[in-house]
C-alpha cells in the first residue's frame, strides 16, 4: 500500500535544544498509526512540522508522493492534513452551527451569512460521524467529548485525508473513549488515515494498526501493532524495565487503626458517603467524571462544605472549614489540575516546595530564615529525585513528572497523616508514574494513610489496597483484595 505521509530525516532545534535528531515517519494510506513516546520525546514537534507550523532544519516531508520543501499551514490543509489539538481550537462562545460552518464560508469567500445554508453544512458535517448534538447549543456549554467531535466534524468538512489526533483521550471518560474509537473505525472504513498520538498503552494496542515510538527526538522502533507487546512498549518508550508485580505484592490487607472516617457525608456533588481509612492503607476513590469523586476529596480538604454528615479524625468529630484547618489536622491534598491548582508555574521550585512550610521556617513575627528555606527545598529535591539543575528555576521549566514531584514534596514536607492525591499521575510519563506509585507504597508502609482519587483503573488496581467506586454522587461499590481488578472496576463504574 502506498504511503499517505512520508517524513524522512527531520531535524529541528530550538536554541541549543535538539528536539528532533533525524526522525522518520511513514504512514500508509487508510491505516491508524500510533505515534508514542514520553513527554518531551518530540511528538508535538513532529506534528507541528507535518502541519506546517514549524519549519524543519533538515529533512523532507512528502504527502501522497508530493514533496513539500517548504510546508505552510495552508499547504497542509490543502493536502488534506488536519490536526485535532488537545484544546480543539474551537470558538467556545459560538454555537455548534457557527463553529462548523465558518471555515467553509470563509474558504468560499462569501460576504453574506445565510442561516439556512449554515445549518445545512453543520447537519451534513455531524451526519458524517453519526454524531448527535444540539446544533444551536453554545460550544462552551458542551462536554469535552462533544467539543472534540465537533473538531473532528470540522476537519472532515475540510476534506481531511489524514487526521492527526494529539492525545485525544486525555480528558475523556471511558465511555467517551469508546465512542471516539468507534468513530475512528468508521473514518478508517471511509479511507481516512489517522495518526493517533498517545502514550496510553491499552488505547494504543486497541486502536492502532502500526506504531512508531520516539525517545529523546529519535526513532526507537516502527512496526505493526501485532508485533508489539506491552512490556516491549514500555521499554521502548522509556529505556527502562518496569515491574508492577512488586507494587502489587507489597499490598497489605491488615492495617492500623482508623485515621479518617466519614459518616453519611453529603455535600454538593455527592450524597451519603461513609468510609473508613486506616493507618498505612491506600484507598482508591474512582468513578467517571461527575461521579462526585473530586467533590468528596475537596470536602476533606476544606474546599467543599459538607451539608450533612460527619468527618471523624482519630476519633474526634471535626469541622474542616478551610485549607488551614485541614493542614492543622494533618490532611494534605495534591489537586487534580497541576497547572492551575497545583503549581505557581512562574515561581521558583524553592517557593513552590516551601509554601506550606513558611510558618515553620520563620520566626514569631513572620521573618523567614532564608537559609532554612533553601535547605528544606534542597532536601526534598534530593529526596524525591526532582530532575533540575537549580531549584531557583521556575517550576514551569520542569517536565510533568518532575512538576508532580514538586507538588508532592510540598505536602510531604508538612508530614501529613492523610495524603489525598487527585489524579496523581495525569500527564506524567511512564517512568515518573512508576516512581510516584512506588513512593506512595513506601509512604503507606511507613504509616501514612493515602487516598488516591483517579479514573485510571490500571492505576487504582496497581496501587490501592481497596477502592470505592462512585457513580452520580453515590457509592456504587467497595472492592478489596482479589476483587480489586480492572474488570470489576469497569463493571461497577457504569
Amino acid at each position: 500500500m502506498e504511503n499517505i505521509l512520508s517524513v524522512k530525516g527531520i531535524k529541528k532545534s530550538f536554541g541549543g535544544v535538539h528536539a528532533l535528531k533525524g526522525v522518520d515517519l511513514e504512514i500508509k494510506k487508510g491505516e491508524t498509526h500510533c505515534l508514542a513516546g514520553e513527554n518531551g520525546c518530540g511528538k508535538s514537534t513532529i506534528i507541528k512540522i507535518i502541519s506546517g507550523f514549524y519549519k524543519p532544519d533538515e529533512g523532507t516531508v512528502e504527502v501522497e508522493g508530493k514533496d513539500y520543501p517548504v510546508m505552510t499551514p495552508t499547504d497542509a490543509i490543502r493536502a488534506g492534513i488536519q490536526v485535532i489539538y488537545q484544546d480543539f481550537s474551537i470558538f467556545p462562545n459560538l454555537t455548534v452551527i457557527e463553529n462548523l460552518a465558518f471555515n467553509q464560508v470563509l474558504a468560499t469567500g462569501k460576504k453574506m451569512v445565510n442561516k439556512k445554508e449554515f445549518r445545512k453544512i453543520a447537519e451534513d458535517a455531524i451526519a458524517k460521524i453519526n454524531f448527535d448534538v444540539d446544533l444551536n447549543a453554545l460550544v462552551e456549554t458542551l462536554p469535552v467529548a462533544d467539543k472534540q467531535l465537533i473538531a473532528i466534524s470540522r476537519a472532515l468538512l475540510d476534506n481531511a485525508k489524514l487526521i492527526i489526533m494529539d492525545e485525544p483521550t486525555t480528558a475523556l471518560t471511558k465511555k467517551e473513549v469508546r465512542r471516539l474509537f468507534e468513530i475512528i473505525e468508521d473514518l478508517k472504513k471511509n479511507g481516512i488515515t489517522i495518526l493517533f498520538v498517545s502514550h496510553k498503552l491499552d488505547e494504543v494496542f486497541e486502536i492502532s494498526d502500526s506504531i512508531t515510538i520516539l525517545r529523546n527526538g529519535e526513532n526507537v522502533i516502527s512496526c505493526s501493532t501485532s508485533e508489539m507487546t506491552e512490556e516491549k512498549f514500555a521499554f521502548y518508550m522509556t529505556g527502562r524495565n518496569f515491574d508492577n508485580k512488586e507494587l502489587v505484592e507489597n499490598k497489605k490487607t491488615e492495617h492500623g487503626e482508623v485515621v479518617l472516617e466519614t459518616v453519611n457525608l453529603s455535600a454538593e456533588g455527592y450524597e451519603n458517603i461513609s468510609f473508613k481509612l486506616h493507618k498505612g492503607e491506600i484507598l482508591g476513590i474512582t468513578g467517571q467524571l461527575g461521579s462526585g469523586r473530586t467533590e468528596l476529596s475537596l470536602s476533606l480538604f476544606g474546599l467543599n462544605k459538607p451539608t450533612s454528615g460527619k468527618i471523624i479524625i482519630e476519633g474526634n468529630k471535626v469541622n474542616i472549614k478551610d485549607v488551614t484547618t485541614a493542614e492543622k489536622l494533618g490532611i494534605a491534598l495534591v489537586p487534580e489540575d497541576r497547572l492551575t491548582e497545583g503549581l505557581f508555574l512562574s515561581q521558583s521550585i524553592i517557593r513552590n516546595i516551601t509554601v506550606t512550610r513558611m510558618d515553620a521556617l520563620s520566626n514569631k513575627i513572620g521573618i523567614l530564615n532564608s537559609k532554612d528555606v533553601v535547605r528544606e527545598s534542597a532536601k526534598w529535591v534530593e529526596e524525591l529525585g526532582v530532575a533540575t539543575k537549580n531549584h531557583e528555576f521556575p517550576v514551569g521549566t520542569l517536565s510533568g513528572g518532575n512538576q508532580q514531584k514538586v507538588v508532592l514534596a510540598r505536602w510531604l514536607a508538612n508530614n501529613p497523616k492523610v495524603l489525598i492525591l487527585n489524579g496523581p499521575t495525569v500527564g506524567v510519563d511512564i517512568g515518573a508514574k512508576y516512581d510516584i506509585h512506588k513512593l506512595l507504597r513506601k509512604l503507606a508502609s511507613e504509616g501514612m494513610a493515602i487516598i488516591v482519587v483517579s479514573d485510571d483503573t490500571a492505576e487504582v488496581v496497581a496501587t490501592c489496597d481497596s477502592a470505592i467506586v462512585m457513580h452520580g454522587g453515590h457509592v456504587k461499590g467497595i472492592l478489596e483484595n482479589e476483587d480489586l481488578n480492572e474488570a470489576k472496576l469497569a463493571e461497577a463504574a457504569v
Partner: protein, 323 residues
Amino acid sequence: MKRIRKIDDNVFRLIIILITFLLIAGITKGGTFMKPSIFQTMGKQLAEYGLMSIGCGICMISGGIDLSCVYIANLCGIIAGLSMQKSGSSIIVAILISLLVGAACGAFNGFLVSYLRIPAMLATLGSYQLFQGISVVLSGGSSVSGIPDTYTSLGTLTIIGIPFAFIMFLLVVLIMTFIMSKTTFGTKVYLVGTNAKCAIFAGIKNNTIIIKTYMLSGLIAAVAGLLSLARINSAKADFGTSYTMQCILIAVLGGVNPNGGFGSIPGIAIAVLILQMLSSYLNTFPDISNYYRDLIWGVALIGVLIINFVINKKKTARLAKMS
C-alpha cells in the same frame, strides 16, 4: 559573576541605566545639572509619587492595582490639616489619625477586591471617587491651609543636606523591601499574585493577604499625603491627580509584572530616581516645551514594555535550555 547574580537581573539593569543616565547628564549639562540644590529639589519632589508607586506596586504584585492612592493621600492630607487647625497643639495626634484613615481606606479597597471579588481596577476606580467625594465634603471644595509652622518646617527640613521627605521615602523603601523579600507575608503576596487558585490549595488565606496588601498601600499613601501637606503648606481634594498614571508607569518601569507575581521594591525605587532625573534633566532645556513631556513619558512606557517582553522571552528560552 555569581555575586552580581545575587541582585535581581532587572534591578541590575536599572542601576546601569541610572548610572549611564547620570554620566550623560553630567557630560552634557555638567554645570547646571550636577548641583546639590538640583538634587535636593529632586529628593523633595520624588518622595510623594515615589511612595505611591510603591503602594501601587505591591498591589500590582498581588495581582491587582491601586488607582486610588492619590486620593487616599489627599484625603489623609486634608484630615491631618483639619485636625491640626482645630486642635492646634497635637500634631502627633493629627498624624496618627491620618495614618489610620489611610490604612482604613486601603483595607476597604482590599475588602472590595477580596471578599466581594470586584476586579481591582474597578474597585479602586470606584473607591477613588468615594475618597475624593469625602475629601471635597470635608474641605468644602477649597484647599485646607493654616497649617502650624512647626509641621510645615518638615517640608524644608534637611538632615546633612538630605531633604526630610527623601529620608522618609528611603525609610519606606527599606521597610517594604524587607517585608516583601524576607517575610512570609511578602512571599505570600507574590504567590497570590502568581496564581490565586493555587494559593488557596496551598493553604494561603488569600483574602487576608489581599486586605493587608491594600492596607499597606493605603498607609504608604497616607505618608505621601502628610509629606505633601508639609511641602506645599496645604491640602486639596484634587491635588496631584496626574500622579495615578505616573505611579503605574513607574511600577512597570521598575519591573513589576502587570499580571502579578513579580517585581521588586528596589526596582521601583530606582525607577523613581530615573524618572525624576529624566524630568529634571529635561527642565534644564528651556527649548523643550512641557507639551512634549507626555510624549516622552509615553515613549518611555511603551519602550519599557517592549524591552521587558523581549527580555522575558529570552530568559524563558535560556531556562528551558538549561533544564
